[in-house]
Amino acid sequence: MIGALTLILCCQLAGELAVTASGLPVPGPVLGMILLFLLLAVRGGVGEDLGRVGDALLKNLALLFVPAGVGVVVHLGLIGREGLAITAALVVSTLLTVLVTGLVMSRLARREADGPSGPEAGAP
């Protein structure tokens, strides 16, 4: 467990250091996530220990953003003033994103399924 946690923290630390050193406008933990993904690809598997620690963290992911979410009580005035713009943007953008992604994916996935059956077609 400690080994897996150390690996995760090392990836995050490397990500944060890379962001600080390069000035990239990307969150450090996201670089850490890409780094861990590459390590898993090289290793060719997740492993039991890391799998257990990762699942425990992610199973309770929603709990982790409660403290930041509570901060919204400080900004109630702002939300009141810009409530219409925020609500409209959320509704339009979320539904449009579902529609566009779904349409593109269903067209492309169907073409892939109907396309000429290459050597990969029967592979698991």
Binding site: L5, C11, G15, P25, V26, P27, P29, V30, G32, M33, I34, L35, L36, F37, L40, A41, V46, L50, G54, L57, L58, L61, A62, L63, L64, F65, V66, P67, A68, G69, V70, G71, V72, V73, V74, H75, L78, I79, E82, L84, A85, I86, A88, A89, L90, S93, T94, L95, L96, V98, L99, V100, T101, G102, V104, M105, S106, L108, A109, E112
Partner: protein, 240 residues
């Protein structure tokens, strides 16, 4: 107040114990209600917890920074949890490698639609720069979205709530949009919900269909990366 009782109060407000207990307890209440409601997206456990804790802070006259000073130990785990997203992403990736092209193009289209349409609608209706920055990464999972919003001048706490509301909207109304557009492919339905509505949409998709759940989970992980790379770029192009 008697002497020992006020001493207890002084101790509690100085240590992280009260804030941590309050955070975990409020989330438990939220999750209990969520389960009782058959995991309906409208009864979101985070939203319930935020409302409960917000009410406690208002009633007890506690300032938010005092609460956060204790709750920051939970908050800290967001970073490691974000890194750990690589694990389900890796597991899904091996399964769906064959649809790589369809996935890449759909991801790009969905991620850009999410950011650009939110920025367009909100700025047409006169939102401030701060609100726009908080809004732009709203389709990415909360820890990533907060990390994107902050350097652009957004408010991470507002972003957290906007991300949750986006998830609720996508999970509750997304399937309706897909039905209206006659999109029946479970891969496409799952991928669309995961791209637009991250973890909240994914937990909904997992309840409905296993394939949809797998593609939704994949889309959530990929869109966290895509949003982190695209939104700062789009922001720089628009606002220079």
């Amino acid at each position: 107040m008697s002497e020992p009782l006020s001493q207890i109060w002084v101790y509690l407000s100085a240590s992280p114990l009260a804030a941590l207990t309050l955070t975990l307890a409020a989330y438990q209440v939220g999750f209990f209600l969520y389960r009782r409601a058959g995991f309906h997206p409208l009864v979101n456990p985070v939203l319930v917890a935020v409302l409960l804790i917000g009410a406690v802070l208002l009633v007890s006259g506690t300032a938010y920074p005092v609460y956060f000073d204790g709750a920051k130990f939970v908050h800290f785990l967001l970073g490691p949890a974000t890194v750990a997203l690589a694990i389900p992403l890796y597991r899904q990736f091996a399964r769906v490698r064959r649809s790589a092209l369809a996935i890449g193009v759909s991801l790009l289209a969905g991620s850009l639609t999410a950011a650009l349409s939110a920025l367009a609608v909100a700025s047409l209706l006169g939102a401030s720069r701060q609100t726009l920055a908080s809004l732009a990464p709203k389709s990415a999972t909360a820890p990533v979205a907060m990390g994107i919003a902050e350097p652009l001048g957004g408010l991470p706490s507002l972003t957290a709530v906007l991300v949750i509301l986006t998830g609720i909207l996508g999970a509750a109304l997304g399937p309706l949009v897909l039905d209206l557009a006659r999109i029946r492919d479970w891969r496409a339905r799952g991928f669309a919900i995961g791209t637009a509505a991250h973890g909240i949409g994914t937990s909904r998709a997992l309840l409905v269909n296993e394939t949809a759940g797998a593609f939704s989970s994949l889309a959530m992980g990929l869109n966290a990366i895509a949003t982190a790379l695209l939104v700062p770029l789009v922001w720089r192009l628009i606002f220079g």
